[in-house]
């Protein structure tokens, strides 16, 4: 499949996902228990006419199709409704908090990848049983700690939250990176190059990295998804005002418009990351052929 066709397909998938996500948002908000009831209708201080007006306003949204179309139309103009718990427009909240999450997740991803690649390369190059066992034990132990516990430990030790995300991402990348590098090193042409006496750095830069780059980059999209998932407990427990904390607060308050809009946004970021990694992997593979 040509690169252009692939790009077109990825863009279509993303548009379909956003449309579907927005439609599902509208449906879920409409069907969620309590939608038809406004707490203000129970307020004894309000006049009968005001209560009737509130009831009529709610009845307008009774038709699900009408509600969904109206919701989609509003979402197309960037109006995702109002947060039920924070009483502010969802768009405003997301614009305010998104940069914080991007910074934390970005730094965490860089840290996680650096750790994973460094440990994987050193493990394959050194080829010492004790070192292999130590790295496998560290990554295995980190894999067994829930993300939320990791976040709590970082709160207790007053360590930066980005490092928590890095340590959550690291073990998931390390295993895969190590396997890829090990299989690259055992390829016949690399064994020949080493047998001919090529230096370690030259073998690495000229033979191993070009072979391993594509499968490692394929993991980049997945690592973004893992890091964004880790952002929920890390931001919620470390008190960082990002999208993860916003989603958690929305979940606790059953603030569905805010919660589902932030989930759709995060999904879009993940899909974009997947698409980019897919395209880069594809172009790398085709250039090697």
């Amino acid at each position: 499949m040509s690169i252009l066709r692939r790009i077109a397909r990825l863009i279509l998938t993303m548009i379909a996902t956003v449309l579907l996500g927005t439609l599902v948002t509208g449906l879920l908000v409409r069907l969620a228990p309590g939608f038809d009831v406004d707490a203000r209708q129970l307020d004894s201080r309000l006049a009968h006419e005001s209560k009737e007006a509130l009831r009529d306003q709610r009845l307008k949204n009774a038709d699900i199709m009408h509600f969904c179309i109206a919701y989609l139309g509003a979402a197309a103009t960037g109006d995702f409704g109002e947060s039920l718990t924070l009483n502010r427009p969802v768009r405003e909240l997301i614009v305010e908090r998104f940069p914080t999450t991007l910074r934390i997740v970005g730094l965490g991803l860089v840290g996680g990848w650096l750790l994973a690649v460094t440990f994987a390369f050193s493990s394959v190059l050194l080829h010492r049983a004790a070192y292999d066992a130590a790295t496998a034990t560290i990554s295995g132990a980190l894999l067994c700690v829930p993300s939320a516990v990791m976040a709590l430990l970082f709160v207790l030790f007053r360590a930066p939250a980005q490092l928590a995300i890095a340590l959550i991402v690291f073990p998931r990348l390390f295993r895969y990176a190590r396997n890829v590098l090990e299989s690259s090193y055992s390829m016949p042409h690399i064994i020949t190059a080493r047998a001919k006496g090529l230096g370690m750095v030259r073998v690495l830069c000229w033979h191993v990295i070009p072979v391993s780059a594509a499968p490692l980059l394929a993991l980049a999209g997945v690592s973004v998804s893992v890091a964004l998932g880790a952002a929920v407990p890390v931001e919620a427990l470390c008190g960082i005002p990002g999208i993860g904390q916003l989603a958690w607060q929305a979940a606790m308050g059953r603030d569905l418009p805010l919660l589902i809009t932030s989930t759709v946004l995060v999904t879009l970021v993940t899909l974009t990351a997947n698409a980019i990694s897919d395209l880069v992997t594809c172009s790398l593979s085709s250039s090697r052929v």
Partner: protein, 268 residues
């Protein structure tokens, strides 16, 4: 390594037996409050002390372990069934079904797991009875955690569909359900079993994350997630290390599963 695996099996067996026999090991109920002794240190009366509400921590750990260890496999069973239904059937049927199933699986896999989980959990009422909250939590884990297994199942079922013995069976006139049940399903069984075991530690960790965030099993019913919430106000420097017992237990159990699963991967 062999001794580590024996240790892992022994540990998992011991934890499972101990949690199932919780009623024999402690006479205290997990919800009983000893109001005169909140936050008590370990003693003869309370082996692991009491929590902030004065509930016996040892009893809560035993019953919480039972909840997590019984229901994580139940969730794994649900997710494996979904994976077999969506991935296995699509792989077996092939063609457009397989393409659509692969697209759906890719889409679900690209959704950040914890975001999806808290979103769907929040759609359901949070103030439900404890027993309902347990069922809802693990049912959701099972219903949302099928995608990775389904992708493997889809690929494997596709390979089985194109294998020589299935072609031969088709040539002899075997079709539809009989082909699926007699020839394809027995070949998918080992993979289904592997996916089931792989899912268990994943769901244990997911429940723990949900529990710490307050979206898991409702109080007073304990689970590892709700027990770990105590870590939020843990004064680690004051030496109250017995509060770390649920965390140590969780890490040991998940590590044991990982250790046994790594053997399965190697032998596969």
């Amino acid at each position: 390594m062999k001794y580590l695996r024996i240790f892992a099996i022994a540990l998992l067996s011991m934890v499972a037996i101990t949690s199932l026999g919780a009623g024999f090991l402690t006479t205290v109920d997990y919800a009983t409050q000893f109001r005169e002794a909140p936050n008590a240190a370990p003693s003869n009366a309370h082996w692991l002390g009491t929590d902030q509400l004065g509930r016996d921590r040892f009893a809560r750990i035993l019953y919480g372990t039972r909840v997590s260890l019984l229901l994580a496999p139940a969730a794994a069973l649900i997710s494996t069934l979904f994976a077999a239904l969506i991935g296995g059937v699509a792989g077996f049927v092939g063609g457009a079904w397989q393409r659509w199933a692969t697209m759906l699986i890719d889409l679900v896999l690209s959704l950040p797991w914890l975001f999806l989980l808290i979103t769907v959990r929040a759609l359901l009422p949070l103030n439900v009875p404890p027993l309902i909250s347990v069922i809802v939590t693990f049912l959701l884990l099972g219903m949302l955690g099928w995608a990775a297994s389904a992708r493997v199942m889809c690929a494997w079922a596709g390979a089985v569909r194109n294998s020589d013995f299935v072609l031969q069976a088709r040539a002899t006139g075997v079709r539809g359900c009989r082909l699926a049940i007699v020839h394809v399903l027995p070949n998918l069984k080992p993979l289904l079993a592997a996916q089931f075991w792989i899912s268990i530690p994943v769901f244990i960790l997911a429940e723990a994350n949900l529990g710490i965030l307050g979206l898991g099993v409702a109080e007073p019913l304990p689970s590892w997630g709700s027990l770990l919430r105590e870590l939020e106000d843990l004064a680690i420097y004051s030496g109250e290390l017995w509060k770390l017992v649920p965390l140590v237990l969780l890490i040991l159990v998940v590590s044991s599963f990982e250790l046994l699963l790594s053997r399965t991967e190697v032998s596969a």
